[in-house]
């Protein structure tokens, strides 16, 4: 075995993240590490690379017991890692990020020219031809993700660890990544792959290990598994697959319900061309497009995060002001942003406080939401969204990524908005929660709430949307509705220059 972990344990204050986990990785194998949000996948990886100090257990690399006390040591041992949601350092240039810690030097000083050349060479296999002298922060999440992968690959002499590397990549980029992974596998590397996209797991992984509540449940060859069994391993129960059925467009009576909001010529120079949007009661609208096409910007204009150059919004009572988030909230909008770590969670506040925050801000500082009401709200949404936390008073920053996302959703559901904008609501969320959120979207629309969903997962859009608007090059180009919505149709609309 290339890498073997035996009875690894790790606990945090108030949570046992890993309890006696065994894990093995062979050379020339892609091994998936799966589990629900908070199962302990990232913790296992961080213990392995020395980012966390493990409480107990042994790690052997090539049969030699290792105990990296820092990630630098792990890197030196030939373990390259892409950590979940850590997309390198935005304040360094792309080249600096790529060569960090191994900068080419001349006379003891970093040789900037060689550094640039090296960086370009590292990005070449990914077909990324960008200015490596710009700050990393100037590039989109997807590009940063690819850069992080390139860096980890270059560092991995023996083991490559990818913790949800595909969360913000689109299909073409995922395909490219897999080509590279296969090549590395052929070269004899061991690769650990964490993902919530089961299709990807089946596409590339040789074996699967499932964690649940910090314990190892099973390790099996992918070929011997089917989707349903895998999911029940992960959840500890069967998932009602109903969630992924097509939405019964015909059944619903949206058409009869009245229009809710009408946006006219909302846009901003240099960001997105003015567009119109009519939102009906209880309607689910999807925004589809490539990365960087301007979906997030559209949402931000609607919610007043950025101000629109022109345009107006109105409902049946007249004009609606949405020039700032506060105005938008007052008008009954809600917005769960894409980057939950930066724009979503308040890390050191408790789950309860994170849930009530928006409601409290809306009510004003004078009328504090009583403790009972807070507790009731927290309890309701922790139950309803199945948020895994040891208590409502746990700081949200200590929750796993997917659970944090659910808390942010809960914050907006607690507001009971009439128009909810969800930017990538299921990014990094496990299958169970994914199904839960999809069901939730369908459920809340029954009360008349309208939802705008931005998602890179076309299946998800197909599953929940009444209408899908396709965004390309900062323009809203096409609209698909009702029975026309299908993965193929969306892909075609995204790819094709304006035809129909």
């Amino acid at each position: 075995m290339l890498l073997s972990i035996t009875s690894l344990s790790k606990s945090f204050v108030g949570a046992k993240a890993l309890q006696g986990v065994d894990f093995e990785l062979a050379a020339g194998e892609v091994h998936a590490l799966l589990g629900e949000n908070g199962a302990g996948k990232s913790t296992l990886i961080k213990c392995l690379t020395g980012a966390y100090k493990r409480d107990a257990g042994e790690i052997r690399l090539d049969g030699v017991s290792i105990d990296p006390s820092s990630t630098a040591e792990a890197q030196a041992l030939g373990i390259g890692t892409v950590y979940q949601e850590v997309n390198l350092l935005p304040n360094l240039t792309v080249a600096q990020n790529l060569t960090f810690g191994r900068e080419p030097r001349r006379f003891g000083l970093v040789d900037a020219r060689a550094q640039r050349a090296q960086a370009r060479a590292m990005l070449e296999p990914y077909g990324l031809d960008i200015d490596v002298d710009r700050d990393l922060g100037a590039y989109s999440v997807a590009i940063r993700q690819i850069i992080a992968i390139a860096r980890a690959v270059a560092l991995s002499g023996k083991v490559l660890i990818l913790d949800e590397p595909t969360a913000s990549l689109d299909a073409a980029e995922v395909r490219m990544l897999f080509t590279i992974v296969r090549k590395l596998r052929a070269e004899g590397l061991g690769i650990i792959f964490v993902s919530h996209f089961l299709d990807q797991v089946f596409a590339i992984c040789d074996r699967v290990t499932v964690l649940r509540n910090g314990r190892k449940i099973v390790t099996e060859r992918t070929a011997d598994l089917d989707r349903v069994r895998l999911i029940s391993h992960m959840l500890g129960r069967d998932l009602e697959e109903a969630a992924h059925e097509h939405r019964k467009h015909a059944d619903t009576d949206h058409a009869q319900r009245g229009p809710l909001l009408t946006f006219k010529a909302v846009g901003r120079a240099g960001m997105i061309e003015p567009f119109d949007l009519a939102v009906g009661e209880g309607e689910v609208i999807g925004l589809a497009g490539l990365l960087g096409s301007g979906r997030t910007e559209s949402a931000e204009l609607l919610f007043g995060v950025r101000t629109s150059d022109s345009g107006s919004a109105s409902d049946q009572h007249g004009r609606v002001a949405h020039g700032s988030p506060r105005e938008a909230i007052a008008a009954g909008f809600g917005f769960a942003p894409e980057d939950r770590k930066v724009d979503g969670i308040i890390a050191e506040l408790s789950v309860r406080e994170n849930i009530v925050l928006a409601l409290q801000a809306k009510r004003g500082w004078m009328s504090k939401i009583s403790r009972q009401e807070q507790d009731a709200l927290a309890e309701r949404y922790i139950g309803r969204l199945d948020i895994r936390t040891s208590s409502a008073d746990k700081p949200i920053g200590e929750l796993s990524g997917g659970n944090q996302q659910k808390v942010v959703l809960a914050r907006w559901l607690a507001m009971n908005p009439r128009f909810l904008i969800l930017d990538e609501p299921t990014r990094g969320i496990d299958v169970g929660a994914h199904a839960e959120i999809v069901r939730l979207i369908q459920e809340i629309t029954k009360t008349g709430m309208a939802v705008l969903v931005i998602s890179s997962e076309l299946e998800e859009l197909v599953a929940v949307c009444d209408r899908v608007i396709v965004v390309r090059d900062r323009r809203h180009v096409t609209e698909l509705a009702g029975a026309d919505i299908s993965t193929d149709a969306i892909v075609r609309a995204i790819a094709k220059p304006e035809a129909a």
């Binding site: 308040i346 506040l349 801000a361």
Partner: protein, 340 residues
Amino acid sequence: MIRSLQRITPQLLTLAALVALVTLFFPNFISISYDGARFVGPIVDVLKRSAPVALLAVGMTLVIATRGIDLSVGTVMAIAGAVAAYAITSGFGLPATLALALLAGLAAGLWNGCLVALIGIQPIVATLILMTAGRGIAQLITEGRILTFSNNDFAFIGSGTVYGMPFPTILWLATAILVAALMRRTALGLLIEATGINRAASALAGVNATVILIAVYMASGFCAALAGIVATADIRGADANNAGLWLELDAILAVVIGGNSLLGGRFSIAGAMIGALIIQTINTGIVLAGFPSEYNLVIKAGLVLVILVMQSPNLSADWFYLKTLISERRTARAERKEAS
């Protein structure tokens, strides 16, 4: 109540240890007597002398909770004091005088708040500007001299007593309690913490982060003005050159010793108040113990370092680890006993 007491236990313990230490050097430290009109004793002095730093620390706690810092409070003390002395000597009544001084503090806070929240200048630099320029403004008012006054009502704020307790003590206690209650009875505390931890996310959740930021700097200015009034009333004169000089550092120290993080977020005003008492105990203790002045700073630095080390989050994590380890061992032993 009990929970918040629990949170400041380390601070209370530190204070107790410090009092014990000072008593070791100066045995009369804890003696208090009543001379017919007022309580007398070193402890009473500490309670009174901590007024400026404690008042500053109340505002500073809020500013620090928003991940800011206010270096200008010492200067604002001087401005408010100068305004008050100027007003009272030009014949304004006491209420008008106090109102003017507090207004000056609020205006200073508004200025800081706008620089930080609207223009986006880093708090250290933004308040450094007022720290430098403000003393000039205060001196402009007093023309560089000490503006003395003889109004006894005003002087009462600095040296009067109520039921034998010095008025400054009552003032800072009342201010601390009022502000703490305001923070916890309303949602202000939560909103301030949220803004401090993640301004962008709070703004997206509808928190009016800009207004909150401006408000905390104004609160800090207000508290600084109160401190300035106390200091001015205490010496019956406005000393624009020296009032509050370097006191901002003591106030920041008090807030941090009180267990508040400079990175913003969770805050405890009670902790900061104990921090202020700790600092004043050190200051008074040094004088009472009779060391030569040139040792003052080294002693203070040494004590502060020891306190910081004892309260360090890493050490407390170790403490926690040790405690859980011991209790786990104990339960394991108990289980074994039961089994056998």
